[in-house]
């Protein structure tokens, strides 16, 4: 069964090399394009100096030049709401909306059609900014990130706004990290390097894979150890959730974009933790036709002792997506 699912790369994936100035922004775009992906996603505040201020004319021109040169399309900009930006002051909804509008202008200036809205954004704020997003033809997508899933209470409050307004400019952006069937090995190993008990870590991984609710595992581990780091390992099972991929089905028409989270792409083109094949089969069967954007995030767990090769990790992830989408 073939599909119209499209492939993108979030430049977030190259953060290690970009952070260390081993890759420039242009080199990140070039690497993404080299995988065959046709879409580009960025975390504006990572890739563009001064974001969310609207970039200079010169930068904008260069940006579209790169898009042409590498034959890619801007797809999504990931935004944040730093509602406690000022020490001791929490933004009112109006201040939050003002900040949000800056991101909408920023996204529009660089040709992005979608904004990934950070999960702490309330449905009220989104409803207030929605007319401005509609005017600018920018779709807002609340990121559905583990430990949330698309049916969680918080997401239902957002869903309620989508339903009530009937807007075409507000939807969901599931992050595939919400389908973590096995706990990420790179993260577990990092914890063990940091002093976690390997036997406890093994137990936690086994329970997680069996689908045991994290609260049970945490309780059992609390009886095995009184060390904080072992509890952190147990709590990984709470933060790295797995839910049945069918959970997406009732919301398929509201999914506007997808984050293809990966932490460890193996040589056989599978992800260690996430059963991508199962999830993509659901997306294909129920007609998803937006982008999946690779979001490699393993660097943070291995950078202490290994050389990070984001380019290779992204390449493998894109190969995997291509195989599953077309097979």
């Amino acid at each position: 069964m073939s599909s119209n699912i499209k492939r993108a790369v979030s430049l977030y994936s190259y953060q290690e090399e970009y952070f260390l100035r081993k890759m420039s922004l242009e080199e990140c775009i070039a690497a993404a394009a080299a995988t065959g992906a046709t879409g580009i996603e960025i975390v504006g505040e990572q890739s563009v100096l001064g974001c969310p201020k609207t970039p200079s004319e010169a930068f904008i021109e260069q940006w579209f030049g790169w898009m042409d040169k590498y034959k890619v399309t801007p797809v999504a900009h990931d935004m944040f709401l730093d509602y406690n930006k000022k020490k001791g002051h929490y933004w009112t909804d109006e201040e939050a909306v003002e900040s949000f509008k800056k991101d909408i202008r920023f996204a529009r200036s660089l040709g992005f059609k979608i904004i990934r809205v950070i999960v702490n954004t309330t449905p009220q704020i989104i409803e207030k900014v929605l007319p401005f997003a509609e005017e600018n033809d920018i779709k807002l997508g609340i990121e559905v990130h583990a430990p949330w899933n698309i049916n969680s209470a918080w997401m239902e409050r957002h869903w309620e706004v989508m339903e009530r307004t009937g807007t075409k400019h507000f939807g969901f952006i599931p992050d595939m990290g919400g389908f973590t069937r096995r706990l990420p090995r790179v993260q577990i190993e990092r914890m063990i390097r940091n002093g976690a008990d390997p036997e406890i870590a093994k137990y936690v991984c086994e329970q997680h894979e069996k689908g045991v609710m994290a609260e049970y595992t945490i309780y059992e581990v609390s009886k095995m150890s009184n060390r904080r780091i072992d509890m952190v390992v147990a709590e990984m099972s709470r933060h790295n959730t797995f839910v049945n991929p069918l959970s997406l089905v009732p919301h398929m028409d509201k999914i506007i974009h997808i984050h293809g989270k990966c932490l460890e792409m193996l040589e056989d083109y599978t992800e260690y933790s996430i059963p991508y094949k199962e999830v993509i089969n659901v997306l294909k069967k129920y007609g998803y036709n937006g982008y999946i954007a690779t979001e490699y995030e393993g660097n943070r767990h291995i950078q202490d002792v290994y050389e990070v090769d984001s380019v290779e990790q992204v390449r493998r992830h894109q190969e995997m997506l291509k195989n599953y989408i077309n097979s």
């Binding site: 953060q15 952070f19 100096l49 001064g50 944040f80 702490n120 943070r300 950078q303 202490d304």
Partner: protein
């Protein structure tokens, strides 16, 4: 996250007020300086007052109070800032152990984002 790269030893040196080190923000995006809740430097095990730390990003310097109120200027992702630390007593040239704790106030995180690093650096 990025603990390994927080302290940039090549940029360590004595200066007129005391000493300075290079520092990168342990985060995957840049933030306004106001979101940097704490910058705590220690020298050979002694924690130095946070009010004695001045941060310089792309040429602009901020003391603690200025930093807390700076909503626009940003410490960008991967940017090596200079942390200048006042230290009255004469610092011996040579190897020193530098500790660095950075605490960020991130809207979507219910908990403080604290990251720590330690490195032996040569302060010439």
């Amino acid at each position: 996250m990025y603990e390994k790269y927080m302290i940039v030893p090549e940029r360590a040196k004595k200066n007129e007020k005391g000493f300075e080190i290079g520092a990168r923000l342990p985060y995957y995006r840049g933030v306004s300086l106001s979101m940097v809740e704490e910058i705590e430097v220690s020298l050979d095990g002694e924690t130095l007052p946070q009010s004695d730390v001045v941060i310089t990003v792309h040429g602009n310097s901020y003391n603690l109070e200025q930093r807390e109120n700076e909503l626009d200027d940003r410490w960008e992702m991967g940017e090596v800032a200079t942390l200048s630390v006042a230290k009255e007593s004469d610092l011996k040239a040579g190897e020193h152990t530098i500790g660095l704790k950075i605490n960020l106030r991130i809207g979507y995180m219910p908990f403080p984002s604290i990251r720590v690093a330690e490195k032996t650096v040569v302060i010439g």
